[in-house]
Amino acid sequence: MIKGFGILSSGMSAQRERLDLVGSNLANANTTRTQEGGPYRRRVAIFEALGDDQNPSGVAVSEVRLDQNPGPVVYDPSHPDADADGMVHMPNVNVVEEMVDMMTASRSFEANSQAFQTLRDMVSQSINLGR
């Protein structure tokens, strides 16, 4: 009925999914084992605009990319996942970077929710015009 609510809701959903990935990255900041083998790789959300030029209808996470940058390699022969030279491949997750991502997601969510409330107030005021 009122398209803006759907659009802003999709924005909040997208930021929430992004925060899920930040959570996954932080939780696996020290993970050296994965199902695919090797250390955990940082997950990045790729956003895609929904609708066409004239009829925007929101945003969605179109795919989750694995960050292909190499992670740090540390010397720790006692580690069970160390290679023959005693080197361990660590995840390419930078905790500080994740915190920045987290704040960006949080602020973007806030912006969407603020716009949602503004839209709600505008609709309310429009209805009150007739009273």
Partner: protein, 116 residues
């Protein structure tokens, strides 16, 4: 959701229609030969139909909202903001409907008070 403001609004709209139908019956004997008791504007804008369509749309937003609320209270993994967005949209739709219905009734009463 326990409260369903739509049924209230629907009854409101239906009541307004019923009243206007009754009004035609009451008015026509007073003015013999007058055109007041005639059929509603042929080919014109069908207000009853428009109101019905709008109510159906409001009903739809209500259903979406109540489905999402139900999903949340039954423990499904549905984001809170999605539920609140649906509920807000339904709330706005109902407010708009009641405002329009109130306007329509006010207009009807205005005419009803007209001295002939």
């Amino acid at each position: 959701m326990a409260i369903n403001p739509l049924t209230g609004a629907g009854a409101f709209g239906g009541g307004a229609m019923g009243q206007s139908e009754a009004a035609r019956g009451v008015l026509s004997p007073r003015e013999p030969g007058g055109a007041v008791g005639g059929a509603s504007s042929p080919g014109g804008f069908d207000f009853a139909k428009a109101l019905q369509d709008a109510l159906a749309e409001v009903d739809q937003t209500q259903k979406v909202a109540s489905n999402k609320s139900l999903a949340m209270v039954s423990g499904e993994d549905i984001p809170v903001h999605e539920v609140m967005a649906a509920v807000t949209e339904a709330e706005m739709a109902v407010q708009m409907t009641t405002a329009v219905a109130a306007k329509a009734i006010a207009a009807y009463q205005e005419i009803w008070r007209m001295e002939v």
